[in-house]
């Protein structure tokens, strides 16, 4: 079996989707993507923690996000837990109705896994010079910690806390994937010529139209689905073990809207644009950013008749940099989530 062969194959239009290392073929979402949080507070088929995504060269770790386990006893199962109303507790001493924390056994399980991964990261980074730590390790680690601190320490409404749980889970899964990638999988992708023996890694995997990417994933034991023109099968040089139907998005994922909440569409457009992924991050990170109460409206006192601000400047400085601080007071800066 090579990366171009098919344990399974499925047809869509003039294309065939094959996998050399999986037994099923997930539906390839088509058409314009409307990326939005669904009832389970995930992004449906556009969520890399739920469904294989097109391989992105700039984010090569995404196919390594762990797959939701079939065994409910698996410790990673907590990364798909959605809190129920009974897991929400009032914040003691905070006298505002409907504000509290998530608590209970599930929360404790999540806490344990976050701290375990934190420890593993420290172990990894302690062995590497700080300048050699891959930037994704620092970035996804920081995101996980920021999300965790807010979930564990800041009270909020039930909806806010549920969203924070899903953000911690997604941050954990991505950081796990990054650690997996840099701890060995990247090397396997670049240096191996044969796939690992034994079962492949239980990760979400990826779609690709690139034979090179398919080859790299195959030798690293990452689930991969190669999309090609169906005519490649006509030459008889591609081994096809079995034709299957697509496993549909609708049969596996929650696609309905969250009841009572209208979450914004964070990205609308082509599915192969990496913004489909980065805008999900932008939305999450924007929610970590404190809103400045002095921004916009509150400080109109310092607008002169020109509508421009006066600021602390010496005359000398003013002469040297006459335009440095001239800003229109009329325009509010966009918050990242409003971009």
């Amino acid at each position: 079996m090579t990366a171009l062969d098919a344990k399974v194959a499925a047809f869509i239009g003039d294309s065939v989707v094959t996998s050399p290392n999986e037994d099923y073929i997930p539906e390839v979402p088509t058409g314009t993507a409307e990326v939005q949080l669904r009832a389970d507070l995930r992004f449906g088929p556009d969520d890399a923690s739920l469904w294989p995504q097109p391989y992105l060269e700039n984010y090569p770790f995404l196919p390594l996000i762990p797959r939701k386990p079939n065994n409910p006893e698996n410790y990673k199962m907590i990364m798909w837990w959605l809190p129920g109303a009974e897991e929400f507790r009032a914040s003691e001493g905070l006298h505002v109705g409907g504000v509290g924390f998530i608590a209970g056994a599930n929360f404790d399980r999540l806490d344990v896994e976050v701290h375990k991964l934190k420890g593993m990261t420290r172990e990894f980074t302690d062995k590497v010079k700080s300048e050699d730590i891959p930037r994704f390790v620092n970035a996804t680690y920081a995101t996980m910690i920021h999300c965790w601190v807010r979930l564990a320490h800041s009270p909020g409404t039930f909806e806010e806390k549920c969203l924070e749980v899903s953000e911690v889970q997604r941050a954990w899964l991505e950081h796990w994937a990054v650690m997996d990638y840099y701890k060995g999988r990247q090397r396997m992708m670049e240096t191996r010529t044969e796939p690992p023996s034994g079962p492949i890694k239980q990760t979400v995997g990826c779609f690709t139209a690139s034979i090179d990417v398919a080859q790299r994933c195959f030798v690293a034991g990452i689930p991969v689905w190669l999309i090609r023109d169906y005519r490649v099968l006509l030459g008889g040089r591609v081994r096809v073990d079995r034709q299957v139907d697509f496993t549909t998005v609708a049969s596996c994922l929650e696609l309905g809207k969250r009841r009572g909440v209208n979450y914004p569409v964070v990205y609308s457009g082509r599915r192969d644009d990496e913004r489909r992924y980065t805008e999900q991050h932008g939305f999450m990170r924007s929610r970590l950013v404190w809103r400045n109460p002095w921004e916009g409206g509150e400080d109109t006192w310092k607008m002169g008749e020109t509508g421009l601000m006066s600021v602390t400047r010496s005359l000398k400085d003013l002469e040297a940099h006459p335009t440095r601080v001239v800003r229109s007071g009329a325009k509010m800066r966009d918050h990242p989530c409003e971009k």
Partner: protein, 350 residues
Amino acid sequence: MRNKKKTLPKYPGALLIQPFLPDASRGSGSSKQGAQKQKAHGRDKFAEPEHDPLAPPGIPAWVEGLKSVKHAAPGDAGDRQKTKAVEKYLFPDPGMVRPKFYENWLRSRAAWVWRANQTELPPTLISPSLWRECLFYGLATGQSTLRPDNTNQFEKVKKLAAAFNLNLDDKGNLGVPGAREFPQTARDMRLLWRDRQVRKKEDGSLEDEVVREMLWELYEISFRMELRGLDRELSMAQGWEDIIQREEMVNRCFAGGDADSFELSPPVIPISNAGLASDELEDRGPYIVALARLMARWAVGKPKIVEDLAFSPKLSKDDLAKLESAVASLYCQAFYDHRARAPLTPHRIK
């Protein structure tokens, strides 16, 4: 007495900004008119409160920095606008919190801290008079005495609650619209400070230690949030990566700020003077430098010493002392220039 205003030459299309003028044309210190306006509402907010044995002590460089704020000359554009503005605060000015409000502040502080840390909506700033109403009626204490009969106050607080996306019910309680109600328990009624039941003295007043720490926290939490807000504006931070990086730089201005789990608000009550408030200059050093580096990007005229020393690999004791004075003065001046009031500055715990 009015200072005669010096004006810049009026050239066609000349300076689009109204700079603050050199010292001679600006009120200097708390004796001038700008400060008198702020004094008119009570104490001089550019000076440390006097005769309060429980007030946390000021840090000399910051006391001096506040005292030396140069006020806008009467009549200039900024000053004319300023007089119409109402000073607003994220947390109550500790100088305004009278002993009769202490208990209600302790009972409600968690709610106000929660509101100030929200990311969904910008936290609304509150005028001193509205803060007094909130503290007087015990808003968000679980024992509110605010009722619709208090028509004016009720309407004002209801408007405030709406700005927070909260409801105000007829019993004066705040709540998230449509959220599940949690019944109040006896535990909720306890008066706590740092997870400990607060004891009262025979006259009903709170323990001195609690009051001292509570007032320190009020200064510290306001300073932290005001610094973060001013930095956001003056650094012209754009985009979430930049903003998060600036927030991390703000965190590093405080003791423990480089730890993953550090929270800017609420501050941890220190057992001894720490960070910018440390007793020894050498101990204050890293935080003074962190603040100077933060200010290095501020789009304001800065004393040369801040730019020269902020990134200097090694600072003498003398340089450090000069840098401390410079950053404290620059912060107080920049805050006044942008917010039209005195900043709340860091204090020592003892």
